[in-house]
């Protein structure tokens, strides 16, 4: 049984009477010790997926259908009171903006101590010792728990956030753009730290990012989202090297690489759809060069084309991406 099993998740935001179809029929699994990289462009629903799992959706957001099974327990059925026990202890989240994740007027250590004491009945001294140990684990000097957030550099703050996420020994960590604001050298140090900790504690990680390069280098499995739906999921090698979905193919082609031969960069004409009124059929069809009549009419099944290589395209496996029809 996978540690996390998201089944047919549908999450909408309500604007008055209208519904924004932010996440539509999304399914994926994460095993113990595994990283799923969830990638896609802004507005594709990757963060809404994460917030649905954490049950931290904005007031107008609502899980409409589907299951989120964490070790067999359905998080969508939990009350807010039950969720408060699950957050941080079973699932924790590493946010993008390390700058905003801490209260600027409280010492960082104190904020993490509060998280621990909120969930566990331990004395302040015990909690403090645990935070010091956590700081060492993430490569920070233990004494720095007495510092304020502004005394930390961007990379150090991100380490402190990871320490906070680990404080209650969760099984699953959701990392939402954990390195986006950092320079590449620091970025790699943080990603290496995450992967070390993951191995040590057999953590499941949901890594959310818009950067395909970060996903390619740091994930076991990769999911590509577009307009609220998963287009393709598979091992990193399958998704990048044996690509089945036209959107995945185009998106990978749009990413520049610092090494290897300099290929022509792709772009995808048009813009992502308005999810108040998503396109019929396949949501990518208005921008897909290979779209046929059926793509306009019916939503393609999200089906397994190999051992766990899922794709939502009517013509998956039949397309020659080298040839664009005119």
């Amino acid at each position: 049984m996978p540690m996390l099993d998201v089944k047919n998740l549908v999450t909408h935001y309500f604007l008055g009477q209208e519904a924004v179809s932010a996440v539509e029929d999304v399914s994926f699994t994460i095993e113990q010790g595994e990283t799923l990289g969830l990638a896609g462009e802004s507005g594709c629903g990757k963060t809404t997926t994460a917030y649905s799992i954490m049950r931290l959706l904005a007031e107008n957001g609502q899980i409409i259908r589907g299951q989120i099974l964490l070790d067999g327990e359905d998080l969508t059925q939990k009350t807010e009171k039950q969720m408060r026990k699950i957050r941080w202890r079973d699932v924790s989240i590493v946010f993008q903006y390390a700058m905003n994740a801490f209260n600027p007027v409280l010492k960082i250590g104190k904020q993490i101590i509060e998280v621990i004491r909120d969930k566990e009945d331990v004395t302040k001294t015990v909690a403090e010792e645990r935070v010091k140990a956590l700081f060492e684990e993430v490569g920070l000097e233990p004494e720095r728990i007495y510092d304020y957030p502004h005394e930390f550099s961007g990379g150090m703050r991100q380490r402190a956030i990871i320490a906070q996420a680990l404080a209650l020994e969760p099984k699953l960590i959701i990392a939402d753009e954990p390195v986006t604001a950092l320079d590449v050298i620091v970025q790699n140090k943080i990603l290496e730290l995450l992967s070390e900790l993951q191995e040590r504690y057999k953590l499941g990680v949901l890594l959310i990012t818009h950067d395909l390069s970060v996903v390619a280098e740091n994930s076991d499995k990769v999911g590509i989202m577009y307009a609220g739906m998963l287009m393709e999921t598979g091992t990193a090698t399958e998704v990048f090297k044996e690509t089945l979905h036209p959107y995945t193919y185009k998106l990978i082609g749009a990413f520049p690489s610092v090494s290897g031969p300099k290929h022509r960069l792709e772009f995808i004409p048009g813009t992502p759809p308005n999810l108040l009124n998503p396109p019929s059929g396949c949501r990518f069809h208005p921008r897909c060069p290979w779209a046929q009549a059926i793509c306009v009419k019916s939503v393609p099944d999200y089906r397994d084309l190999g051992k766990g290589h899922f794709v939502a395209c009517h013509f998956a496996g039949e397309l020659n991406f080298e040839e664009v029809p005119k």
Binding site: G154, G155, V184, F255, P256, S259, L265, I268
Partner: protein, 344 residues
Amino acid sequence: MSSTPILEIRDLKKYFPVRKGFLSFLGGQRYVHAVDGVTFSVQPGDSLVIAGESGSGKTTLARTILRLIEPTAGSIRFQNEDVVAMTPEELRPFRQKMQLIFQNPFEAIDPRHTIHEVVSEPLVILDPGSTEDERESRVLSALEDVRLIPADDFARRYPHELSGGQLQRVAIARSLIVNPTLVIADEPVSMLDASIRTEIMNLMSDLQKEYGLTYIFITHDLAQARYIGEYIIILYLGRIMEMGPMEEVLQDPIHPYTQALISNVPVPDPTEERDRIDIPGETPTPIDLPPECRFRPRCQDFDELCSEDEPVLHQVSEDRFVACHGWEARRKKKHKLTYSSDTK
């Protein structure tokens, strides 16, 4: 690089005073050396990328070149004219020739103005003699240039009705409407999604050919840099570490900082094995720098000379320069970054 440069920067410096705090009487005024002795030139029609991490001084450098902030020392010559000596009146025509495109079009464009007002604003300011009709037709042709078609439809809209990519086109149209010769673009695509970045980059490159523009791009993203410029300058703590033709620098970096930086750039290929060069610490703030190579505290390959003397730019080949004392020794060791890729 033999013809007359369009832009010549010599030993440019920009220091910012550190805000005085309690006990500041104990020491003198301290400065952040944001740009600290930068020398380079740009040939007409080139596209140069100035790359560096946050805090490298790349944005300060761009703003100083435009004299949006005053340089502390050094010279800036644009088309052989001394920019530093210009009075505010003399700066006006110069600003017309040198335009800046910002990173975030949502912030750079006033949401209360129509696209027509946004694009025509520089004309009103820099060419006050122009008539309403002239401005109208120039706005429409500028919008057509950036492929916002039908132009008269776009001209009537408000910024919130446009996507990020379309807004960045508006920003480009606004900078081109005054017929500049040099365009400085500060991270022009980093706010945009990957699928539309290429479209904007292609557009900028088409416009460059069409109007004979010279570009300076400021970026932190070396992979993106590779696709937008022919030359690259690598900046660290306000100083040039290495510069030269793009592919040469990226595929065969000489400076230990450049080597580390490039080796850390992620690539969109899970099968590519890369040797990462780790360098300790994070980029410090350049206050009170000792007289040594500013990369030495993080360098893995330094000797005595490096802590005694700040290296100047050595010429390595015709148009490659590197600020490292040990470059020759390292060249002999043939310390090259090798990328291996096992494509199945």
